[in-house]
C-alpha cells in the first residue's frame, strides 16, 4: 500500500473500495479516522429531533469519522462509497501526528464542531422551553444569593461584583451593592430575600437660584434622531430583557440615599485577590458610584473622567462602562449645579453613542437640567421625547410624571 501523495503521513494505510461499499455502519465502534483521497463518500444519518434522513457528501481531502473516533463513542452515521473510492485510514496516533503539523485543519474542525454543539444546545433549550425563561443577569444574582445565604460570603461577593460589572444598570444592581457592602462591613446576618426593586422614585431636581446660564446652544435637534430607534443593548446577547432593567441613575440614588452607615472610603472594590490584575475600569467605576452616593460629586467626576481616558478597553463590559461613564459625568455636573457642562456631557454622550441604551436616560436628564434652570418649555420638549421611547421602563414613567407636573404649573 502506498500513500505517496502525503509525504508527512508515512505509516498511514491507503485502502481502495468498490462502488457501494460500506466503510462503517452507524453504531459501529472503531477508532479509525478517514481521509477521502479519491472517489466519493456519502454519510447518512438520522436527525435526532425530526428523524429525517440526512445525507452529506465528503469532499476529496476531507476527514470523516473524526468525532466518534476522538470521543470514543459509536459511529453516528453510515459511510458508503460511490464509485471506485480511495481512502487514507488513520489511527488516532496518526491523526494526532498529522494534526500537530497542521493546526489550520484543527481550527477548521473546531469551528465545525462548535457550530454543531451550538445547534444541539439550541435544540435542547427549545425542548426544555428554556429559551426565553432564563435570564442570565437574574440567575447570576441568584448565585450570589445562594452563597450569601449559606454563609460563603467570599463566593457571594464574587457573584455580586460580577453582576455589577456586567449589569451595572440591572434590576438587582442596588441589591447587589447592598450585599457587597454588608459583606465588606462583616454584617452578613439576615439574608432576607431581595424583592425586585419597584419603580424608582424621581431624583429630586437640583434647586438653584440663578438662572443666568445660557442654554441657547442646545436644542433638541442637536441630538441625532437615531436615538429614538430602539437601541440594541449589549445585554441582548445574553437574553437579558432590557426593559426589565431599571436605570442605574435613579435606582442608585435611592439605594445610596438609604444607607446611613456608609463606610465606603476609597475604593471598596480595590485589593481583589483573585488574580484579575490591578485596578481596572470596572473598579474605578464602582469607586465613582460610591463617591457619587456620598455626594462627593467632584471626586466621582474625576474618576469618571479618568475612565474616559482609557483607550484600551479589554472587553464588552468595559466598553459598556466606558459608555456609561459618559452619561455619569453629566449626572455629576448636574449635581454640582454646573448645568452647561451637564448638558454638554449628555449631548456628547448621545452623539458619541447614538445607539446606547443610556440615550433615553440622557435625554431625560437633559429635561431635568432645563427644569433646574426654569426652562419649562424646553424641559417639556425633552420629556415628550422620552415618553414614547422603547423599551418602556421607569424612565418613561418619570418623564410623564415630570411633564404632568410642569403642565400643572
Amino acid at each position: 500500500m502506498s500513500n505517496g501523495a502525503m509525504g508527512q503521513t508515512s505509516g498511514i494505510v491507503t485502502r481502495r473500495y468498490k462502488h457501494g461499499s460500506i466503510v462503517y455502519f452507524e453504531n459501529d465502534k472503531s477508532e479509525y479516522i478517514y481521509i477521502l483521497k479519491g472517489g466519493r463518500v456519502i454519510l447518512t444519518s438520522l436527525k435526532v429531533d425530526t428523524g429525517e434522513e440526512v445525507k452529506e457528501e465528503i469532499k476529496p481531502g476531507e476527514f470523516f469519522g473524526v468525532k466518534s473516533s476522538l470521543g470514543k463513542y459509536p459511529r453516528e452515521e453510515t459511510a458508503q462509497t460511490i464509485g471506485e473510492t480511495v481512502l487514507l485510514v488513520l489511527t488516532l496516533a496518526d491523526f494526532e501526528r498529522l494534526v500537530l503539523q497542521n493546526v489550520n485543519v484543527v481550527r477548521k474542525m473546531l469551528r465545525i464542531f462548535s457550530n454543531q454543539l451550538r445547534r444541539i444546545g439550541k435544540s435542547q433549550r427549545e425542548v426544555l422551553g428554556e429559551s426565553e425563561a432564563i435570564n442570565p443577569a437574574e440567575e447570576l444574582f441568584k448565585i450570589g444569593e445562594y452563597y450569601y445565604k449559606v454563609g460563603r460570603v467570599q463566593q457571594a461577593q464574587y457573584a455580586y461584583k460580577r453582576y455589577m460589572e456586567y449589569y451595572p444598570d440591572g434590576k438587582y444592581s442596588g441589591a447587589s451593592m447592598q450585599r457587597i457592602r454588608a459583606i465588606e462591613s462583616g454584617s452578613t446576618g439576615g439574608g432576607d430575600d431581595f424583592m425586585p426593586p419597584g419603580p424608582a422614585a424621581p431624583p429630586s431636581p437640583p434647586v438653584r437660584g440663578d438662572d443666568t446660564v445660557d442654554f441657547t446652544d442646545f436644542s433638541i435637534e442637536d441630538e441625532k434622531p437615531a436615538a429614538a430607534a430602539p437601541s440594541r443593548s449589549p445585554l441582548d446577547d445574553f437574553g437579558v430583557d432590557a426593559a426589565s432593567s431599571s436605570p442605574l441613575a435613579s435606582e442608585m440614588d435611592d439605594f445610596f440615599s438609604e444607607g446611613k452607615s456608609l463606610d465606603f472610603d476609597g475604593d471598596p472594590f480595590g485589593g481583589e485577590a483573585n488574580g484579575k490584575g490591578g485596578k481596572g475600569v470596572a473598579e474605578n467605576f464602582y469607586a465613582a458610584m460610591s463617591k457619587f452616593s456620598q455626594e462627593e460629586y467632584q471626586g466621582a467626576l474625576a474618576l469618571y473622567a479618568g475612565i474616559l481616558e482609557v483607550h484600551n478597553l479589554k472587553n464588552d463590559s468595559e466598553a459598556k462602562i466606558f459608555e456609561k461613564a459618559h452619561f455619569e459625568i453629566g449626572r455629576c455636573y448636574l449635581k454640582l449645579g454646573k448645568f452647561t457642562e451637564a448638558l454638554t456631557a449628555f449631548s456628547n454622550m448621545i452623539k458619541k453613542f447614538p445607539n446606547s441604551e443610556n440615550v433615553k436616560n440622557a435625554l431625560f436628564h437633559m429635561g431635568v437640567v432645563y427644569e433646574s434652570v426654569k426652562k419649562a418649555d424646553k424641559a417639556a420638549a425633552y420629556y415628550n421625547r422620552v415618553i414614547p421611547m422603547e423599551p418602556k421602563d421607569s424612565i418613561n414613567k418619570l418623564a410623564a410624571k415630570r411633564l404632568k407636573a410642569i403642565e400643572n404649573g
Binding site: 429531533d49 426544555l128 464574587y158 456586567y166
Partner: protein, 216 residues
C-alpha cells in the same frame, strides 16, 4: 504536555487563585478559557438550591472551553480547590494560541467531540415523549458511559434522583414517582446515591422501539 513547561506562556497568560476563589461563576458571560497548570478546580452548579459538584479537574485539564466559540453565559461555576495556577486565554487570541500550541488544539478537538456526543445524547432523552421512557433512557445513557459494565447482568448506576431529573429535564417529584413504580415492579432497586438496574437491555429495547416509532 510541553506547553506547560513554557514559562513565557505563564508570564503572559498565567493567573493564580487561592483556595475557594471563584474563577468564574455560573451565568456570568464567558470570554476566557483555562488550562490548569497547578492545583485542582471544582466545577459546580447550583441546582434546586444545592451546590452540586459536576467535576473535579486537575493539572492538564481545560475548562471554560465553550468561550472559544462565542460569548455566552457560563453553564457552571469554577472554584479553586487549592492554590491554583492557570493559563487564561481569551477568545480573541485563540487563533494565535493554536498556532503556537498544536497540542492544545488536539486536546480541544477531543473535548469538543465528547461534548457534542454528550449533548446529542441528552437531546435524544429530552425528545422522548413519555416521562417513563425518558427516565429509562437516562439509565441507558449512564450505562453507556461506563464501558466496563456487563449489561447482561444487573448494573449499579451512581446517580441520585435529582441527577436523573436533571438529565431528563423533569421535575424531581415526577421522577421520584416513576422510579418508585419501577422499584415496586422489581425492575430497579432504588437507593439514595445509586440505582441498581436489573435488566438494562430491557430498558434499551423499550427506549429504542419508542424512538423508532416517534417519527413514523
Amino acid at each position: 504536555m510541553s506547553m506547560f513547561l513554557d514559562s513565557q506562556l505563564f508570564d503572559k497568560f498565567g493567573v493564580e487563585y487561592s483556595p475557594n476563589d471563584i474563577i468564574f461563576c455560573e451565568y456570568e458571560p464567558g470570554n476566557e478559557f483555562y488550562f490548569i497548570q497547578n492545583g485542582r478546580v471544582k466545577i459546580v452548579k447550583i441546582i434546586n438550591n444545592t451546590e452540586k459538584t459536576l467535576d473535579i479537574l486537575e493539572v492538564g485539564d481545560v475548562f471554560g472551553e465553550m468561550a472559544i466559540l462565542e460569548e455566552q453565559p457560563r453553564s457552571a461555576s469554577a472554584i479553586a480547590m487549592d492554590h491554583v495556577k492557570l493559563l487564561r486565554f481569551r477568545r480573541e487570541n485563540f487563533d494565535a494560541l493554536l498556532q503556537g500550541n498544536p497540542q492544545l488544539a488536539y486536546k480541544l478537538l477531543i473535548i469538543f467531540s465528547k461534548r457534542i456526543y454528550d449533548a446529542k445524547r441528552r437531546l435524544m432523552i429530552l425528545l422522548l415523549e413519555e416521562p417513563q421512557v425518558k427516565v429509562m433512557d437516562v439509565m441507558c445513557m449512564l450505562s453507556e458511559q461506563d464501558p466496563h459494565l456487563d449489561l447482561q447482568e444487573a448494573i449499579t448506576l451512581r446517580v441520585t434522583i435529582q441527577e436523573v431529573a436533571n438529565w431528563a429535564g423533569m421535575q424531581i417529584a415526577d421522577v421520584q414517582k416513576i422510579l418508585s413504580h419501577l422499584n415496586q415492579l422489581g425492575k430497579i432497586e432504588l437507593f439514595n446515591d445509586r440505582i441498581i438496574v436489573k435488566n438494562i437491555r430491557d430498558f434499551q429495547r423499550i427506549v429504542n422501539s419508542r424512538r423508532k416509532n416517534m417519527f413514523s
